[in-house]
Amino acid sequence: MKRALLAALTLVAVAGCAAPSDSGSAPAADGGIAIDQALHDSLPDRIKASGTIRFVTDASYAPMEDFAADGRTIIGFSPDLASALGSVLGVKAELVQGNFHTSLDDIAAGTYDGVLSSMNDTAERRKKADFVDYFSAGTAIIVQRGNPKGVTGFKDLCGLVVATERGTVQADLLQRSQRGCAGHPMTIETFTTNADALVELRTGRASAVLNDYPPAAYLATDARTKAYYQLASTVQYEPGLFGMAFAKDDPALRDAVQAALDRLIESGVYTELLQRWGVSSGAIATG
């Protein structure tokens, strides 16, 4: 059922992608999202020339970004948001699978135009890139179903193997939490993708995985995964903002996306997309 729902939503998202390139000013074709010509004009020339904004993402973070059943299409809140932003800007905005922990370097190198991968907007990262915040979430602890190690909070993680994705705020959080495990440290293992970290937990090599709250909740409730995973608690640790990252030398794109996001928030499209993916708790007000 859920899968069918996801597929339907994917279709909607795909339709959202296609519309702007087909007809410049046909708001009705994309759920009422109209092109803002001024914003389009404000885009960097290379974007206008290619007509595409390429966001890098690690698609292993349902429901934010994840691979569909075909193994190739990326679906979730993030691609839908990108599509809607593209509609406002009059370009195509797409998500490309890549490495999370190298993504900021990749955009600095110009490999991609931005990062849209549930990335927390942190002070440290702001040194490398500019952010347009679009979501708010804290970190959750995921354990095996049944919670065999009896984890209820960070203090219980001491002495256990904890896995997480490389370069995430969760990896940083774990490092910082290590201080609380005097003489009884956690074994922190980081992986290229979040999926790899979950494999460790699923196979029992790790006792817990740290994720942002929305994907963690999704894992604990989705029919395909809830048999293996559950949340250690409902607490969200260190709530923070997710931001789309842009290269420091690309303020025009950053500003255009910020303006487009504001437009989506004002028009209610943003809220609707949050509802579609069941992540309304992560809503932010106009930036």
Binding site: S60, A68, G71
Partner: protein, 651 residues
């Protein structure tokens, strides 16, 4: 022989029916078998594909994906990836667990194959490749004549190289089918045997059911057919069967034969007096005697009631006559029913074919006519002799119907012919003669309708009517001073009817007439027909004072002995003797003898048909008592009969 033929053809029909059932049920059985075999084959193929798919999934997840370790295939494989893949697939290839393995990117490029070549592989436009590119696993059975088993399973499935579920390319895998095929073959063989056995048993059961059904149907049909064509009482062929066989017999070219109708005389009385069971028994006896007297090729049928019919094929008129004489004689033997001895008499009406026609209906009509002709006459075996006979019988039906209405509507009238005393010349008595004032045909003499009435039982109401009217008229004329007695003709059937004497006596009393004033005229042949019954009635009537007159005396074959001892009041000499009494010495002798005989028995003698005064004179001289004829008066309404003395000379 007929029956045997019928049975054989019945058995043939039922065998055909059974064969039809067998063939018809073979079709659904065959269809069912084909469907089940097809289903099993389908299942086997699906099972084969599923096996292949499952095997491919394991290979992809346990061999290929770990070897690739994620990464983008479009960039080609690293040396390390290639070596890992090679290493992990070699053993499977060596053991023939996998026949061929290719790793392809979405553009179709072969980035790895077990034999190192980049050539070959499924086209990227192939639906299976397209489908695998879109995340679906596609397995299919391909023919591979060069391989053992002749088939190979090809599986195309997406390579989900990492836990993210990202598909990086398409795995093209060829798996041996021989082992699966062998197992499938074994299973199929088993299934075929079971299926064949099961369907065979099913077919056998169906066949048994249909065999038993057709058999009981055939028996039922035979019984029905027999009942439809046979009379339940005697077991003889019935009217329908008779018609069928008669048609067959008549249709034989160049073979003369006869259709004979047999009707028992006075069967109704047996039924009425002894009861229906006696009647049924009598019919059984008659049927038996007739059957015994017939030849094997002849057919005896009961058409209904006391009416039987015979088909006598391959017989000329003489043969038919001889045969019927024998039958008649055989029937005449006395039979005792309920302790009552009876003599059976039957009338035979014969129509010969092709002489009298080739149409069964026509032959039957003619035989019928002949039979009724016989019933009226003296002969019990009558061969059809022309349209006159036929005309009678058909006309009779009309007449009988009309006569019924005539009685109801009072269309009958009585005329009277006086009998004159030859010595005094006075009217001594009158004979009542019935006439029918027919609305279309005018005034009809009795000869036009009496024979028909005689045969139909209408004679009884008719006689009753005549008696009432005559007695009523007599009362009238007596009141006007005429003291004529009245004569009424009664038929043999009247005399044979039990209780007739009482009935007449009752009427006489009802009209206040003196019994001596009523005379019943009976034909000589009526007295002869069933002497016992008629004689008893005559005795009963006489004992009640009612006179009996023997009509038409001399024409029948009444033995003198039959009249002996009967109280006969009057003997009427038939007109044939009277007509030529002046010229024929024989007639003179007969008339004289009759007069002498009648007087000797104490009877009065009346001469009929007196037309001339000379004859009247001769008769008076010969000692005749009374005379009747046109010389005196035609039959007229009684008011027109002169009261005064009439003589031939006077008129």
């Amino acid at each position: 022989m007929w029956r045997a033929g019928k049975n054989r053809s019945g058995a043939r029909t039922s065998a055909r029916l059974f064969a039809a059932y067998a063939v018809a049920s073979l079709v659904p059985i065959g269809a069912l078998g084909a469907l089940m075999v097809h289903g099993t084959t389908e299942d086997a193929a699906r099972w084969g594909r599923d096996q292949g798919r499952a095997q491919a999934a394991v290979i992809a997840e346990m061999t290929v994906a770990p070897a690739l370790g994620g990464g983008d295939l479009s960039q080609g494989l690293t040396a390390e990836q290639r070596e890992r893949l090679q290493h992990s697939t070699d053993l499977a290839i060596y053991n023939d667990s996998v026949l061929r393995l290719r790793v392809r990117d979405f553009a179709g490029r072969v980035v790895f194959s077990d034999d190192g070549t980049t050539a070959g592989g499924v086209s990227i436009t192939d639906p299976a490749f397209v489908s695998a590119s879109a995340g679906q696993t596609e397995a299919s059975l391909l023919s591979a004549p060069e391989l053992p088993g002749g088939q190979v399973i090809r599986v195309l499935q997406p390579i989900m190289a990492s836990a993210t579920g990202q598909s990086v390319g398409v795995l093209e895998l060829y798996l041996p089918y021989a082992q699966i095929a062998a197992r499938l073959h074994q299973q199929m063989t088993q299934t075929y045997w079971r299926l064949g056995g099961g369907l065979g048993v099913l077919y056998l059961v169906l066949a048994l059911i249909s065999w038993s059904t057709t058999r009981s149907l055939r028996r039922y049909a035979q019984r029905q057919a027999h009942e439809a064509l046979h009379d339940a009482l005697t077991g003889l062929p019935n009217r329908a069967a008779f018609h069928e066989r008669a048609r067959e017999a008549v249709a034989q070219p160049g073979e003369p034969g006869a259709i004979v109708l047999v009707d028992l005389d006075r069967f109704k009385e047996v039924n009425d007096t002894l009861g229906h069971h006696a009647g049924d028994e009598l019919l059984g006896v008659v049927a038996g005697r007739l059957r015994d007297g017939l030849r094997p090729a002849d057919t005896l049928a009961r058409l209904g009631g006391d009416e039987f019919a015979l088909i006598l094929p391959r017989s000329d008129a003489g043969t038919v006559r001889r045969l019927l004489d024998e039958l008649s004689a055989a029937l005449a033997h006395e039979v005792v029913l309920d302790g009552v001895p009876l003599s059976i008499e039957a009338s035979f009406g014969v129509a010969l074919y092709p002489e009298h026609g080739r149409d069964v209906e026509e032959l039957l009509r003619r035989a019928d006519a002949a039979m009724y002709h016989g019933k009226r006459g003296a002969s019990d075996i009558v061969v059809y002799a022309g349209e006159e006979m036929a005309a009678h019988s058909t006309q009779w039906l009309v007449v009988q119907a009309e006569l019924r209405h005539a009685l109801a509507r009072d269309e009958l009238v009585l005329h009277y012919q006086p009998k004159v005393d030859l010595r005094s010349g006075e009217v001594a008595s009158v004979e009542a003669l019935v006439r029918w004032q027919h609305p279309q045909r005018g005034l009809l003499p009795p000869s036009e309708f009496l024979p028909a009435a005689e045969q139909s039982g209408l004679i009884e109401p008719l006689t009753a009517w005549v008696l009432r009217r005559a007695l009523a008229d007599q009362a009238h004329w007596t009141s006007t001073g005429r003291c004529w007695s009245v004569s009424v003709n009664v038929s043999a059937r009247n005399l044979e009817k039990p209780g007739f004497a009482e009935f007449v006596a009752g009427l006489v009393a009802e009209y206040g007439t003196s019994p001596g004033q009523l005379l019943l005229e009976v034909t000589e042949t009526a007295l002869a027909a069933d002497a016992r019954r008629a004689a008893q009635t005559v005795v009963d009537l006489s004992s009640r004072g009612i006179g009996i007159s023997v009509d038409d005396f001399g024409t029948g074959f009444t033995g003198m002995s039959q009249l002996l001892g009967l109280p006969i009041a009057e003997v009427k000499i038939d007109r044939t003797f009277v007509a030529d009494v002046l010229d024929s010495p024989q007639s003179q002798a007969i008339v004289r003898a009759v007069i002498a005989l009648a007087h000797g028995l104490g009877s009065r003698v009346t001469a009929e048909g007196v037309e001339t005064a000379d004859v009247a004179y001769w008769l008076r001289r010969a000692g005749c008592d009374e005379a009747q004829g046109y010389l005196y008066s035609r039959p007229v309404p009684w008011l027109e009969i002169p009261m005064y003395e009439i003589t031939g000379a006077a008129s």
